[in-house]
């Protein structure tokens, strides 16, 4: 770690803390958003997420070494954490900290993209089924029943293992395509109750078309379950990607993702646990932050649970 890296790390931490403080300060003026920050875990979660997004953006400034370079395969394998190698080196003599920093880009990127695909699909299907009812509802929901019964991990393993060298983007889409079933049920249930409400009936009576009613009137009021399942979805997708990479068929080497870093460190876990420990900790932190933030959103947007 050079002095510049330390400085960049410090700046990222301070900026993240300040962003959350400022958001919180502004939120305290509004009733709804005050509830968002009611739980301390929400602030912490938001802070950690902001910090990690900054890390992903500023990866070259924070990483002292090239993440994929094998520094010295003879002398520098499995070095314990030190001032030079902040989190030690892995069995291939690569710097764990640098890989962790660059892996943030891959893991967060996959999480966000996969969740985007899943939530978009889930919202679309849920809204169509809940709004139009009749046969559209029946067909779509029977499809969702099947999707929920699919052993998702098998399907993904098969998709990746059977099509050798599946491109990175396809993996993300595949994860997204198998993750939307739960969301669609939540959205459908919400839309079912919303479509009977006076303001929706009024909009229809005024002559608004179906798509306009759905997009402008129904969906904005179904925001709570959609946002919550998006936050939880990012965590789930990230975990799935990590699990696949851990099994050796996710993000291909030498690129670092937190999942394949755990896999890379596994053979020498007894002698050099740091190369497995820190990426796993990073995954846990992100998923925890997302769960905490989701709790906050649920509190803020769900009018039924106003304590």
């Amino acid at each position: 770690m050079t002095l510049g890296n330390w400085f960049a790390l410090l700046v990222a931490l301070v900026v993240a803390a300040e962003v959350v403080r400022a958001l919180r300060h502004r939120a305290l003026r509004q009733e709804r958003w005050r509830r968002f920050f009611r739980l301390r875990t929400t602030s912490w979660g938001l802070g950690i997420l902001t910090f990690l997004v900054l890390v992903a953006l500023a990866a070259p400034l924070l990483a002292p070494f090239d993440p994929n370079r094998q520094l010295d395969i003879v002398h520098l394998t499995n070095r314990p954490p030190s001032w030079t190698f902040l989190l030690g080196t892995d069995p291939l003599s690569r710097d764990v900290w640098s890989r962790l920093v660059y892996g943030t880009r891959v893991s967060l990127g996959i999480g966000a993209l996969g969740a985007l695909v899943a939530v978009a699909l889930g919202t679309l299907v849920g809204a169509l089924a809940g709004y139009y009812r009749r046969w559209i509802d029946a067909v779509l929901m029977r499809g969702v029943d099947v999707g929920l019964a699919l052993p998702r991990i098998f399907v993904l393993l098969m998709a990746v293992a059977l099509w050798d060298g599946l491109p990175f983007a396809a993996l993300v889409v595949a994860i997204g395509l198998t993750s939307w079933f739960g969301t669609s049920r939540l959205v459908r249930a919400e839309v079912l109750s919303l479509r009977q409400r006076d303001f929706v009936v009024a909009a229809r009576a005024l002559g608004a078309g179906s798509s306009r009613v759905i997009v402008r009137h129904v969906l904005p009021n179904a925001a709570a379950p959609i946002i919550v399942s998006a936050a939880l979805g990012v965590g789930n997708v990230l975990l799935l990607e990590a699990a696949l990479s851990f099994l050796g068929i996710g993000v291909p080497p030498p690129d670092a993702s937190w999942g394949n870093m755990i896999a890379d460190g596994m053979p020498s876990i007894y002698t050099a646990p740091w190369s497995t420990f820190f990426p796993g900790l990073a995954i846990s932190l992100v998923v925890m932050s997302l769960n905490g933030a989701a709790d906050g959103v649920r509190d803020a947007l769900d009018p039924r649970e106003a304590p």
Partner: protein
Amino acid sequence: MTGGVWLLRRLVASVAIVFAVITFIFILIHLAPGKPCSENLDPRVCTLLTRQFGLDQPIAVQYWRYLVELAHGNLGMSFSLRRPVWDALVETVPFTLQLAGAALVFDFLLGLGLGIYQAARVNRLPDLVLGNATLFIYSLPTFWLAPILLLVFGEKLGWFPVGGASDPIFCPQVDSLYCVADRLWHLVLPATTLGVVGAAGTARFQRAAMLEVASQDYVRTARAKGVPERQIVLRHQLRNALLSFITRFGLAFPFLLTGAVLVETIFAWPGMGRLAFDAILTRDYPVVTASALIASTVVVAGNLLADILLGFADPRLRVHAAADADVVTA
């Protein structure tokens, strides 16, 4: 609609879902490029094997044959194990059941207990500490927790074995009390890995369910007429909060299945998850399809069981059960 008709309809729907899942898996497998021969195999042998297993036929013919065999209770021959798929499953499924069963018991006992305890002390110190702890544990990846537990309790402390399901020398078969104890001893770390993450989720869920019930009128009424706090929690809150817990019980199976694949691989536990994983890597189609069949059956059966239990537990649902079944499970 009476209960019998409702049950029949749900059963038919469940079978249809499983059928759709197998069809999907079958198509997915056969769309994939590549053949199930290893690369250093003589191409002529490969052609012979392909013909022998009927893989040179059109996909529709293969699918039809598979269904006919399935209807006769025949799951086919495994390519890589050179034995009937049924035998391989009979050998491995009990291990997965033991692992998932132990994890489930761990999950529910600990999770329910913590959730009820937290709700009874809501927003006080124990609740806050446990709330943060469960939030963290719930977020741990099982495939990371497993190696850490192995490292600490298996390697460093030496309390538990580092892999396998039983002692290969003294207990090749579980035929004595000592061997049952040996199995349980091997079960501790894998079941804890799966159970503790699940328990944290259950605790979070149960706490929320208890608190939702706590704001209901009948709880306030009970408190107003002087029912002891303990009885309010156990008889009024818990009874009603358990209803949503039943739904969660039905949803626990997919989590256990996914976890089993990873945990079995790490702990060298000879269960179905590992069998399926190896089968996918070696393109052992019949084993993959059969595993998917079992996995989806378990998931569907779990949902069905939860709905049936819910019907018994909640009198309000009995008449309208069929109409609202989807909404309830959502």
